[in-house]
């Protein structure tokens, strides 16, 4: 089943008019710069803000339909909201916070389920502590646990990692991934950080100035040239890869992407593991023939699928490598000098790969 969100409202000079889908089994990322309207959408979905017009259906249940005068109150929406600032109750212990929604649930889960979530989030040693004694990362975990234990029909994660430093982010992400993999819940993950989304989401909704400018699978949307050019939102391509082989003597790992192989610095992953990688468009060079005398390890044959000028200097080129799409950014002069054209054969020389994908790095 698929949920639908449609919200339109006017907040001062800011007009929000956004509609997108929230599939039951996937993580949908709501992506956009600050001020795009992401938090307003979360508040409207949670029932904390009443839009002028809107329809919200999640998990087969209509939570809002302004045309039919339906508006389920926030406290009856059963949406597990994790706010950016955690919003833990300062007078309650970690246990009191975790069980706040659980105690108020119409059909609360059993005690063993409470134990399971507590362990899932690694909170079993914090239960008696007060929120003010916790680190930022620990607080986020408590907020996640509190949202899970209320028995939600969906999770709304509003920038749960913003404000945490890289170490703390690395601490939370594995827990988020466990929740994604173990709880069968639709998840809306709001973020302005493409790295988090790369690692965590399956689908992406791109929001800009109150409007949805793109929606679809992470791979398709991030490979779109019109977005790359217009707003420089996605400076690269996101790909799913499988660990194919290790070259221990040289400290390298081979990744399989579609039918292609990529060589990256050695990873402590098992062969067969699935990982997600990002290749920045700036890190992809193009050649007309296979160069034999360059140091780059990754040289892949490709066909140009689409070209679009990024600005007066740069040209974005979308490449097809079998089933895979890859973006390259070259100068317009190089493009002209090489005579690059759609359907032309080229070789993509990949200088760097960012590994930080799904299932950890």
């Amino acid at each position: 089943m698929t949920g639908h969100i449609a919200i339109s409202t006017q907040l001062g000079a800011f007009a929000l008019d956004a509609a997108f889908e929230l599939p039951d089994s996937d993580v949908t990322a709501l992506f956009g710069p600050s001020g795009a309207g992401k938090s307003t959408i979360v508040h409207a979905i949670a029932g904390l803000m009443m839009p002028a017009k809107g329809q919200i259906t999640i998990g087969g249940e209509t939570l809002l339909d302004t045309e039919r005068n339906i508006s389920v109150p926030a406290r009856q929406r059963r949406l597990g909201v994790v706010f950016q600032d955690s919003r833990l109750f300062p007078h309650l212990s970690v246990r009191g916070n975790l069980l706040y929604g659980w105690r108020r649930a119409a059909a609360p889960c059993g005690a063993d389920e409470v134990d399971r979530v507590t362990r899932l989030l690694g909170l079993e040693n914090f239960l008696e502590r007060k929120p003010r004694t916790l680190s930022g990362g620990e607080r986020s975990r408590v907020a996640l646990g509190r949202a899970l234990l209320m028995g939600p029909r969906a999770l709304l994660l509003d920038e749960p990692l913003t404000g945490l430093d890289a170490t703390r982010k690395g601490e939370i992400l594995p827990y988020l991934e466990r929740i994604r993999d173990e709880e069968k819940l639709p998840i809306l993950y709001v973020s302005h950080a493409i790295d988090e989304i790369t690692r965590f989401a399956d689908r992406i909704v791109v929001l800009n100035a109150g409007r949805v400018v793109a929606e679809g699978s992470l791979f398709d949307v991030t490979a779109r040239l019109d977005l790359a050019s217009g707003q420089a939102m996605f400076p690269g391509t996101i790909l799913d890869a499988t660990v194919a082989a290790h070259d221990r003597p040289f400290g390298l790992t081979e990744l399989a992407i579609g039918g292609e192989r990529l060589v990256v610095p050695a990873m402590t992953r098992n062969i067969g593991d699935k990982i997600r990688i990002r290749i920045d468009a700036q890190d992809v060079m193009l050649a007309l023939s296979r160069p034999s005398d360059v140091s780059a390890n990754n040289i892949l044959p490709a066909i140009i699928e689409e070209m679009r000028a990024h600005d007066e200097t740069a040209m974005d080129v979308k490449l097809r490598l079998g089933e895979t799409r890859l973006l390259a950014r070259v100068t317009r002069r190089s493009a002209e000098r090489l005579g690059l054209a759609v359907e032309g054969d080229v070789f993509a020389i990949i200088k760097a790969v960012t590994v930080g994908g799904r299932d950890g790095a």
Partner: protein, 232 residues
């Protein structure tokens, strides 16, 4: 303490404590309601209500005592009605002292409660709402516990202020030993009596100690309040 204070002085001390405690306890629910109203509700005439609540802070206590006498005196309509139908008499009775103290220290409590409620981060209430808590539930599970140290600080301040109340009490319920003669009235009586300086000094020292203790306790509770609401 029996060696330090005379029997009459101990009687005044006990009476002061009784009047102050009962007056604070009776006022508390009304002060909470008023504090909640002023902190959360928007309504026309709010500043007038705010002014009336704070009036006892600036009105001369003697004027307040006189007003009470006019309203609750046995020959005043309301006072006569209370005496005839319910057997309640305020004038010349310690219950009248409770009434006067309650009205005069009401603003202290309202103010402390209102500030505590306003200090709460409103986003916490939104979080509680998404977790299934109704408005009444949020009041009991969130607003009151978070405001509790502030409420207690207000109550302690009001208690200390009750101990010091003089003008309204002596005007409204007079200065009757064992009935309405609280510590300040006992001090006044001692000063008026020949050779009463030592007693006046003892009772004044006691008053200072009690007031100081009350203020320190109130400040301690206020600090707890700041910690509870995450502001320290």
């Amino acid at each position: 303490m029996g060696g330090f204070l005379t029997g009459a002085e101990l009687e005044a001390l006990a009476l002061s404590f009784r009047i102050a405690s009962i007056s604070v306890l009776i006022t508390l629910p009304f002060a909470f309601a008023a504090g909640l109203l002023l902190a959360r509700a928007q309504f026309p005439g709010k500043s007038l209500v705010d002014g009336i609540v704070h009036l006892p802070l600036v009105l001369p206590p003697v004027a307040m005592g006189y007003l009470l006498l006019v309203i609750f005196g046995t020959r005043a309509p309301l006072g006569a009605w209370l005496l005839e139908n319910l057997g309640i008499r305020f004038v010349f009775s310690w219950t009248g002292a409770v009434l006067a103290s309650a009205i005069l220290t009401f603003p202290f409590q309202v103010r402390a409660i209102r500030l505590s409620l306003e200090a709460e981060d409103p986003r916490l209430s939104q979080a509680a709402e998404t977790l299934g808590a109704s408005a009444l539930d949020r009041l009991m599970s969130l607003h009151i516990p978070l405001a509790l140290p502030g409420i207690l600080a207000g109550a302690v301040t009001a208690f200390a202020a009750c101990l010091g109340e003089f003008g309204a009490i002596i005007t409204f319920v007079s200065n009757i030993p064992g009935e309405t003669r609280t510590i300040p009235l006992a001090i006044y009586t001692a000063i008026q009596s020949p050779g009463g300086e030592a007693a006046a000094a003892r009772l004044s020292a006691l008053s200072i100690a009690l007031a100081l203790l009350g203020l320190i306790l109130a400040e301690f509770l206020a600090r707890r309040a700041r910690i509870a609401t995450g502001r320290a």
